[in-house]
Symmetry: C2
Subunit: 322 residues, 2 copies
């Protein structure tokens, strides 16, 4: 997280999550909360899955992008928005911009998958390819912002993004108010911090647990050391969870998250397949990360009502990990 990519810097509040929910409601799906008898049996818990794989663009990222873009004044929005992303954030910003009727300038590493390039182009983005480094992404994006006047939309370290992501847990807790634990995956921390904001405000007894792949355990190490540890050469199939925490997400996570645990690649794949087979829904590896923590019994959920945020479902069906 470099300073120039952060547009606003206050810590969002739960009131901002509630405002976000109202703002994005006309554009987003209220995704279903599914249960699974078989996975309840395996884990010994009563599980409630918030299915963001059914969200527009196939991931929770649309909530934050939508909130950020519809928070802009007409004047701010007019020149369009810009973002750098190799994946779901790019699609989310592009679709939200289209709904707002403005341009989306997307910087993608030239190594991004063809599937994702096509998807983002399909949503109508003006794409610029860059080298696959953080530095190239940021400088390319900064140039575009300078040339076009577009507003940059950071993928997680922005209070409007965090508030938007928090609407998933808000909806989940509206439907199942007596959850005792909520699990969410953690990459940059937008989803986890938003989840924690909503959960702590709506039910202060609730435990919020972040789950991260062992091969990208910077949030785990940051959480337990008390200072942001950057994500260096992360290696995991959960390609939505490669990024480092930002100062906003880290502050919220330290304050409201109870624990962060890590899971192995093999358990992630096993969990992903199990959800496909038992629930007949398609989730991406990042979504399987909290399920993996349940399979490995890393969290005490016996007999408890447990919410699980399934973050997305964008998978290349020609490259399944089994």
């Amino acid at each position: 997280m470099t300073p120039h990519t952060r547009i606003e810097s206050h810590l969002p509040t739960f009131a901002e999550v509630e405002a976000a929910a109202k703002r994005i409601e006309p554009y987003t799906h209220r995704t279903p909360v599914l249960t699974c008898h078989s996975l309840n049996g395996i884990t010994g818990a009563q599980l409630f899955f918030k299915c963001e794989n059914f969200q527009k663009i196939g991931a929770f990222k649309f909530r934050g992008a939508c909130n950020a873009i519809f928070s802009l004044s007409d004047e701010e929005a007019k020149p369009g928005v810009a973002a750098h992303s190799s994946g779901n954030h790019a699609a989310a910003v592009t679709l939200a911009a289209r709904l707002r009727g403005i341009d989306a300038y997307i910087v993608m590493p030239r190594t991004a998958s063809e599937l994702k390039k096509r998807a983002v182009a399909g949503y109508g983005a003006k794409i610029t390819f860059c080298e696959p480094t953080q530095r190239s992404r940021e400088t390319t994006c900064a140039q575009i912002v300078k040339q076009t006047g577009a507003k940059e939309i950071h993928s997680y370290n922005d209070p409007r993004i965090i508030a938007g992501q928090g609407t998933a847990a808000l909806e989940l807790l509206q439907e199942v108010s007596d959850l005792e634990t909520i699990l969410a995956p953690v990459g940059g921390g937008g989803l986890l911090s938003g989840t924690a904001l909503s959960a702590s405000a709506m039910n202060e007894q609730i435990e919020v647990i972040g789950v991260e792949p062992e091969g990208a355990d910077d949030a785990f190490r940051s959480f337990h050391s008390g200072a942001i540890v950057p994500s260096i050469n992360p290696k995991t199939i959960a390609d939505g969870l490669l990024t480092s925490l930002g100062d906003l997400t880290f502050t919220i996570i330290r304050r409201y998250v109870h624990d962060i645990v890590t899971v192995s690649e093999s358990t992630i794949i096993k969990a992903m397949r199990m959800v496909w087979e038992r629930m007949n829904i398609i989730i991406e590896p990042s979504s399987a990360v909290p399920v993996a923590a349940l399979l490995d019994k890393l969290v005490d959920v016996k007999g408890k009502k447990v919410g699980v945020i399934l973050s997305g479902g964008n998978v290349d069906l020609d490259r399944l990990p089994w």
Copy 2:
């Protein structure tokens, strides 16, 4: 369809569908009705998918089996139930029997997939393997019925089964009452005839269309010739649609179904993949058959509100057809 496999022979009425809905409600899932912006765009219709892939045992078959088994008197039920099936009907009968607290004797061809054998065993069936011929299935099942006194549950040509399968369309039309067309796959005709019973009673303007694979087009030929054409050496990836119509299902289909159309294997696979990718749900090839008819524009749905029954989601993830 041989006479000894039919237990009751009257044509079911819509009142029996309504009674079935009440009877099975405590045991079945009210499955969600999903929409998909992207598939609406591709087909030009407004599609409403009734997701029986989220039904217990992963298929609509549980509705009929549940209705048949919970229709039995305590005395009739006591010796248990029997069925021959290589697939979803076996799982459906076994789970419904377990919920009723009685034994399920299942005859499976020894060539059935390991996945299905394991699933049915997992639900607690007493399995007998037989040769993979209709004759061997029927004589083995008849022997078991004779030995145990179990009641045989036919997989489609039974008014209680047909009424049970009709509850899917009943629920769909309760949610979206102004559908103009409903599409369902057709194998033995239990789902299609049940769908037609509900649709014709709830909204007489509605068109009910059956869709069948070209490689198993006996219902298509029966419908258009006016006499049951048996299914001989059917060959299709849609392995839920191999069977011939029964006299009950055929009579209802002739009376209430508007048309039956056929689709190619390649379009079935394309449709299946498209639903996986665009909707992030897992459907089996049989479910993709009506979607294939939409892709091939075999039914005029432009601008219409169209219901599609997605029949099930049991797929071997190690043998995907792409």
